[in-house]
C-alpha cells in the first residue's frame, strides 16, 4: 500500500461492529434483528456488578450481498473483549440456524461472521461454552448449502472456542492486525512460562499468531490490507466461488500429519511453523 492508498482507504478495523456489518451488505439493505432496543442484554453480568451493553456485543444484520439474501454476524470486540456469553452466542447460533433453514426452503442465504473475540465469557462459563458449541454445529450445517465466511480483522483477533468456529468457516479472511489462536498469549504464558512465551512481547506474539503468519501457515484463505473495499470485494469473490469442494476442517488428516512432524525438543520459531504447515498442506 503506497501513501496515497493509505490516506484514501477507508479502514475496516476502525469501524464498530454495527458499521462493519453495514459496509459489507448492499447499501440500504441492512435490517437489524434482536437489536439494542430489544434490550436482550446479559442477565448474568448485571448480577455480577458489570455494566451490560443493550445488544450483548453481537449485531445480527440481515440484508443482501450482491442482491442475494445474507446475514452478517458482527461481534463487538470493544465490549468485554468480544466474549461470548449466553445471549450473544445464542444470537449468532440462532441466526445461522435460521439461515440454514432458509436454504432448506429454497432461499439461498449466506453468512458472514466477524470474529473479534477472546472466546467464552468467563462470567457466564458453561452457558457461553454451550453457545459456542451451538455456533460450531450451525456453521457445519449451513456450509453444506452456502459459504460461511469468517473475517478476523483485528484488533482483538479470535481466540478460544471461537477460533474453532473460525476454522470451520468455508473461507477465512484476516488482516495483519488480526491474531488467530486457540489460547490467548497470557494463558500460554501462564501455563508454559515466560521463557517459552512472553505475552508482552508484541512482535513475538504477532510473529506466532498474527494474520500474516497464519496466512503463510495455510490456516486462512485471504490476507488483506485493512481496507473496507478490499475486504468487501474479497467477501463477494468468495461468495461467487461458492461452497469449496473440500473444507479446511475436512483436511484434518493432513493437519495431524503436520503436527506429528513438530520437534518439541526445539523452541518453536515462526519460520519452522510455516515450513511444517506448508509442507503438509500445500499439496
Amino acid at each position: 500500500m503506497n501513501l496515497d492508498e493509505l490516506l484514501s482507504r477507508e479502514s475496516f478495523t476502525e469501524l464498530g461492529a454495527r458499521a462493519r456489518a453495514r459496509v459489507l451488505l448492499d447499501e440500504g439493505s441492512m435490517r437489524e434483528l434482536i437489536g439494542p432496543f430489544d434490550r436482550l442484554s446479559s442477565p448474568w453480568l448485571a448480577q455480577q456488578g458489570v455494566v451490560t451493553q443493550a445488544d450483548d456485543g453481537v449485531v445480527v444484520a440481515r440484508g443482501r450481498i450482491d442482491g442475494q439474501s445474507a446475514v452478517v454476524l458482527a461481534i463487538e470486540g470493544a465490549y468485554q473483549g468480544g466474549s461470548m456469553g449466553e445471549v450473544g452466542g445464542a444470537k449468532i447460533a440462532g441466526a445461522l440456524e435460521l439461515a440454514a433453514e432458509d436454504n432448506r426452503r429454497g432461499i439461498p442465504t449466506r453468512a458472514v461472521i466477524l470474529f473479534e473475540t477472546g472466546g467464552v465469557r468467563l462470567q457466564e462459563a458453561n452457558l457461553g461454552l454451550a453457545a459456542i458449541a451451538e455456533i460450531h454445529a450451525a456453521i457445519v450445517d449451513l456450509r453444506r448449502y452456502q459459504p460461511v465466511i469468517g473475517i478476523s480483522a483485528g484488533p482483538v483477533g479470535c481466540f478460544g472456542g471461537m477460533s474453532i468456529a473460525a476454522a470451520l468457516c468455508s473461507y477465512l479472511i484476516v488482516t495483519r492486525e488480526a491474531r488467530l489462536g486457540l489460547n490467548g498469549p497470557q494463558v500460554i504464558e501462564q501455563e508454559a512460562g515466560i521463557e517459552e512465551y512472553d505475552s508482552r512481547d508484541r512482535p513475538f506474539i504477532w510473529s506466532m499468531t498474527g494474520g500474516e503468519q497464519r496466512w503463510h501457515s495455510c490456516l486462512v484463505d485471504a490476507y488483506l490490507d485493512d481496507s473496507v473495499a478490499a475486504i468487501s470485494d474479497q467477501v463477494r469473490a468468495f461468495l461467487l466461488q461458492g461452497v469449496p469442494a473440500q473444507h479446511r476442517s475436512d483436511r484434518y488428516e493432513a493437519f495431524l500429519a503436520s503436527l506429528a512432524r513438530v520437534d518439541t525438543t526445539q523452541q518453536a520459531r515462526p519460520d519452522v511453523v510455516r515450513a511444517i504447515y506448508q509442507e503438509g498442506l500445500q499439496a
Partner: protein, 104 residues
C-alpha cells in the same frame, strides 16, 4: 455498578431512535428513544461509583443548554470522561437528526 435517574425539560417527542458508542473501556453506550412531550428521562448505569453529582452537572450542561427533542435516554457507562459522555450524547442526537437514520 451504580444506577441513577434524572429528568430535564425538553421539547416535542423525538422523531425516532438512535444509538452511539460501546460499553468499552473509557467509553459508553447511549440509546435514545422518543420521550413524553416536554420531558427527557435519563437513566444511567455506570461502572464507577460515587460520581452522581458529576453526572448531574454534565447532563444538565448537555441537555439543559439548548432546546432538544424529548427522549428517553439510556446510558451504559464504562468509565467515560465527561468530554466523551458529552460527545456520545451529541452524536446520538445528531444521528436522530439525519433523515432515514432513525434505526441504528
Amino acid at each position: 455498578m451504580e444506577h441513577m435517574k434524572f429528568s430535564f425539560p425538553a421539547g416535542r417527542p423525538a422523531p425516532g431512535r438512535a444509538i452511539a458508542g460501546v460499553v468499552g473501556s473509557g467509553d459508553l453506550e447511549v440509546l435514545i428513544e422518543p420521550g413524553a412531550e416536554g420531558q427527557t428521562q435519563v437513566s444511567v448505569s455506570t461502572s464507577v461509583q460515587g460520581m452522581g453529582r458529576v453526572w448531574e452537572a454534565v447532563l444538565a450542561r448537555v441537555l439543559g443548554a439548548a432546546p432538544l427533542p424529548a427522549v428517553t435516554l439510556e446510558i451504559n457507562d464504562f468509565g467515560a470522561t465527561p468530554g466523551v459522555v458529552r460527545m456520545r450524547i451529541e452524536q446520538a442526537f445528531d444521528e436522530l437528526g439525519q433523515s432515514g437514520r432513525t434505526q441504528p
